[in-house]
Symmetry: C2
Subunit: 324 residues, 2 copies
Amino acid sequence: MSEFDLIANYFTRPVRRSPLGVGDDCALLAPAPGMQLAVSSDMLLEGRHFLSTVEPARLGHKALAVNLSDLAACGAKPLAFTLALALPSAEPAWLEGFSRGLFALADAHGCELVGGDTTRGPLNICVTVFGEVPAGAALLRSGARAGDDVWVSGTLGDARLALDVFRGRLALPQALFALARARMETPAPRVALGLALRGIATSAIDVSDGLVGDLGHVLKASGVGARIDADAVAGRVALAAHPAFAESALTVPALRTCALAGGDDYELAFTAPPSLRPQVLQAGALAGTAVTRIGTVEAQPGTRLVDAAGAALDLALASFDHFG
Amino acid sequence: MSEFDLIANYFTRPVRRSPLGVGDDCALLAPAPGMQLAVSSDMLLEGRHFLSTVEPARLGHKALAVNLSDLAACGAKPLAFTLALALPSAEPAWLEGFSRGLFALADAHGCELVGGDTTRGPLNICVTVFGEVPAGAALLRSGARAGDDVWVSGTLGDARLALDVFRGRLALPQALFALARARMETPAPRVALGLALRGIATSAIDVSDGLVGDLGHVLKASGVGARIDADAVAGRVALAAHPAFAESALTVPALRTCALAGGDDYELAFTAPPSLRPQVLQAGALAGTAVTRIGTVEAQPGTRLVDAAGAALDLALASFDHFG
């Protein structure tokens, strides 16, 4: 299969909104008047961002999902993406599955493939995504203020539990493993929530490397600190609500660690003034995504973890470092 | 060196024109009113797009140059780029050189780094570049018309001669090799020429995989064919004009083949009506880039090669296929 056949067979579809899609030297995008273009680029490598055991369709989903998650964190509406793909060989079954998973998520978000590159080499998937946001309305990391509530969307820690099973460090009942694996392999980017939080959240970030580490970026960019209820966070592990959970050997400390520093969650962590709690809850309801209040922004830098009773916790948490 | 230190030390510079650069979930771009955004993404792999012998600064230059070349082919003005980088290890000397070469070219074109990704893995460089072009003014592959002249910018074939030396298939006098190597490792993207050709050229493409193959994409997209003077093309090999050329063993057929199908040239091939020849020559003069008329667009599909006397040539030319 030639490079041109590969692109024609699996990655060329007519564009609907963009003036020009796949097939020329550049694609052309036309942001609406008054809109800024939000851009993010993420590279996925086998072994570091996904396991060789992942189904191609799930990998296609995840490659786009982690990028859409960055748009969500900025409150940007997805428009289009490019895909640069290095593949050891052109296997039709892999390409069919990968492109199917990729386009299913793209279609669900009205985000069209407009260009990219393919080459032979060690498997590497690089997606660059484009969204639009009204000038001045993007959710940034730098807007958190002392007194704001700290919130997180959805569930946390489940992806890390699946990874620990794959690594042989944990055993889980089958039903729990399937749930955790789906969270790891097919994260749901919180695009609708990001849009609903425009004008409400003072800052936002997507949780990819672990909640405490990613929240730390927000706090640092905003020049503040936070007090976080570790048990409120641990309560967001989806597996803990499953009927089969009692059969597992998972402990409260293990749940806390996974939820606080597990990584690969692709939820949104964000801050908002306490006066806007009803609006935050309504944004979550509109987006169909649970939102949970987990702490408070404080003037003093650093992150202070406490338990449900307010007692200080001293947890050794290491955030993911993709270059470590 | 952590991922964050690596980004902070080598790849973070304040943005001047973009509303938001490196350091948040997304970068923000603000195209001027009435402008469309041109986007292109190219992935570079060792062994396929560059050799391990290349100096890091030259590699940084080339990684951006091949992307700027795509903007040039669309007549788009460079604005910004993202860089996704997979590296086997974080070596300061490599990172210093790579980023120096990258930013030198970026600065020369007023194109700023706004975001990206870094991860540990087999060396892979994925740049996505953004430019702006007035709505409707982009140079496309699809606009060539029967009767148009076919033009090419700069020099062709020299990069391929350098590659053949590296591969041990050719010996060249040192002065010629240095010239050819510079063409291979530090191509000059024809951005100024692309801008100057807006409203003049009917179609354009950048020559990355070999002139005849890339011109074939234009002809196919435009539903036409062309008659190309192979000797006019061969006359564009820079080495042939060098005083040391007489010492080389290069033959006319070898020059023809390299110029017609060598690849890695990053020149522009374009078409324009014969009535606009003075304007094309003026565009080349304004851009400081030679432009050479090499043939004529014809209604009959396919590419017909002829020699300087107009006699048909039957050359077996294979275009680069990055997946072949």
